[in-house]
Amino acid sequence: MKELQELARTLLSSGTVKVVFGWEEGPRGARPAFITDAANAGRLVFDHRCSHTLATYLSPRRPHMTRLGKAAIVVKGCDARAVAGLLREAQVKREDVVIIGVRCGGVAADPADAGPLTAENVAERCPGCTAREPHLADHMVGETKPEPPGAPTRDARIAELDAMSAPERWAFWQAELARCIRCNACREVCPMCFCERCVADKTQPQWLESSPHPRGNFAWHVTRALHQAGRCADCGECARACPAGIPLGLLNRKIAGIVADRFDYRATDDPSVPAPIGAFSVSDRQEFIL
């Protein structure tokens, strides 16, 4: 990816940024890279294995990262939505980050997947993606890629769940969430879970039980999904990170559907569009508040 490597080299050697967040070759496929030396810019790659969202690394809660200095970050369209979320919620200042947009044709669910990219191994958020060229960018690299393979499946799956009776749907989620061990990987990788002190970690009072039993797990996941309402960037990291294979994307996507329906808001990489959680309009529907 010569264009990207050249750009990184220039940004670093000119001192415009101190570090470039991108992807590189690792022992198991592509992985996040943090290039601080212009001489190492050649390590940067971009291909279908770059599934990771790097926006989480911009969090101000990571002192070992912020110490590196001003960053440039390579973003796919979905990643740009995450960066926009951080900007929208004042976690990062626009002038403190250089955004390198990369044109994307979809990524694999597993960064270790050598490919090629097919309908079977593509990440579930990619088919039908309309954000393959990020708007939020200081620079744009890469050639326009073909559309991701496969047809979108998530909304059909959600429709299936919606068609179930409440007890059936309850049973479905109980079975899925039974595997949760409260490792909190979903939270730690999420770009929008940046609270200094997560509600789940508070002990006085104990809002959510921390134990990985069905009751505690349900409380945690529903709370997190609701806290992500109107904020989730649909980057897919939570589901990818979950070591128990819980389909968290369905939960977040369902809530995103409700937010779209209620507030006509969809995750966007335009930080000037206010999210429902932080904005009020007199035309907001209120019939559910009594």
Binding site: P63, A175, E176, A185, E188, P212
Partner: protein, 357 residues
């Protein structure tokens, strides 16, 4: 004991025997998403033995993700405490991977250190572990480097090796021997040297393949770790770590836990222990807010130190069986085998024993 064999059919019947006798049978089996976990089965057909490596290890059957320690009830001015059971119904693990079986035995050390953890050993005593020699997984396996291997019998009561039509079976412990005896009708003496030779070839083949992934001198690694607490390595390699703890949750040997009181209503509740990990920011934080391991560099360093320096220093063996799950599970691309390889190279140059930067 003479080596035995068992056909797949007889193994199926054996599982049926166990289940109808009330024994809980745990085996690798497919979850709803198609991936393999160790889970309870009721029929042998549900098992996926020798397929993909189960996503999680066996530790949850001895140290559950959440486990009640006791319950209390508050009366008028006094409290009654209700104990939990410390003896458990019989379990058989069928198709354990050698890395997972070995890990359970390694954990016996800390669980029996001066104070005997009755809950851990209660479950241990109730469980028979039947392992199956591993066909290897992928390049992230490094069991041989930790002193184990895809054919390691450590921690297993019985070891099975896949052969034509079934398995070659060896009893490793008296418990394994008793198991064979109790189900003698299902087993036959290994017919010929050909079967044992085939099994041996399987084992050595996988072993030499896995051994190519990583070679470690565990003593040299430990010495380096003891002397390199402030090494710049810990600042360079931890950037991609999210501190999420996925590694610890899938790890067969990570065992740190939290203890919490969970009220049920106003007057009663249960005290539980829950899986926890040194990788989270809050693991060491004091009530005052002071955090002795204040950034991810320090926390990742702790994990490596605990596994390859502290635990062996205390108990004589590393807290790792080289299963590679941490590398597979990490969403940020952290790679423990790579870290160990990097340290080995540093040891080799003899350089960087002192603190740098």
């Amino acid at each position: 004991m003479i080596a035995k064999t068992i056909t797949a059919e007889e193994l199926g019947a054996l599982v049926a025997d166990l289940v109808s006798a009330g024994t809980r049978v745990i085996a690798p089996a497919r979850a709803a998403d198609g991936k393999v976990d160790y889970r309870a089965i009721t029929r042998f057909e549900e098992a996926a033995i020798g397929a993909e490596l189960p996503r999680r290890s066996l530790k949850e059957f001895f140290l559950p993700p959440t486990e009640p320690l006791f319950s209390w009830h508050q009366g008028k001015g006094d409290v009654t405490v209700k104990p939990v059971a410390v003896s458990f119904p019989p379990h058989v693990v069928l198709g354990a991977r050698p890395c997972d079986a070995a890990a359970v035995e390694i954990l016996d050390r800390v669980m029996g250190w001066d104070y005997r953890d009755e809950l851990w050993f209660g479950r241990r005593e109730a469980t028979t572990i039947v392992s199956v020699a591993c066909p290897g997984v992928d390049g992230s396996c490094f069991c041989t480097a930790t002193g184990g291997g895809p054919d390691s019998k450590r921690g297993s009561d019985l070891m099975m090796v896949p052969v034509d039509g079934g398995y070659l079976v060896e009893a490793v412990t008296p418990k394994g021997q008793a198991f064979v005896g109790a189900h003698a009708a299902r087993f036959v003496d290994a017919a010929d040297a050909g079967t044992t030779a085939a099994a041996e070839a399987f084992r050595t083949g996988v072993r030499s393949r896995v051994a190519e992934h990583l070679t470690l001198s565990l003593p040299a690694l430990r010495r380096w770790l003891e002397g390199s607490f402030d090494h710049e390595l810990w600042r360079a390699i931890v950037l991609r770590c999210h501190g999420c703890g996925a590694c610890a949750s899938v790890c067969p040997t990570c065992h740190c836990f939290d203890i919490v009181d969970e009220p049920e209503g106003v007057r009663a509740g249960t005290r539980r222990r829950n899986w926890d990990t040194c990788q989270t920011a809050r693991f060491t934080v004091h009530a005052s807010g002071h955090n002795p391991r204040a950034d991810q560099n320090a926390r990742f360093r702790q994990r490596v130190l605990h596994k390859f320096s502290i635990y062996p220093g205390r108990f004589g063996e590393v807290l790792c069986t080289g299963c590679g799950r941490c590398a597979r599970a990490c969403p940020g691309g952290m790679d423990l085998p790579e870290v160990l390889k990097t340290i080995t190279a540093l040891v080799g140059t003899g350089a960087s024993r002192e603190a740098a930067v």
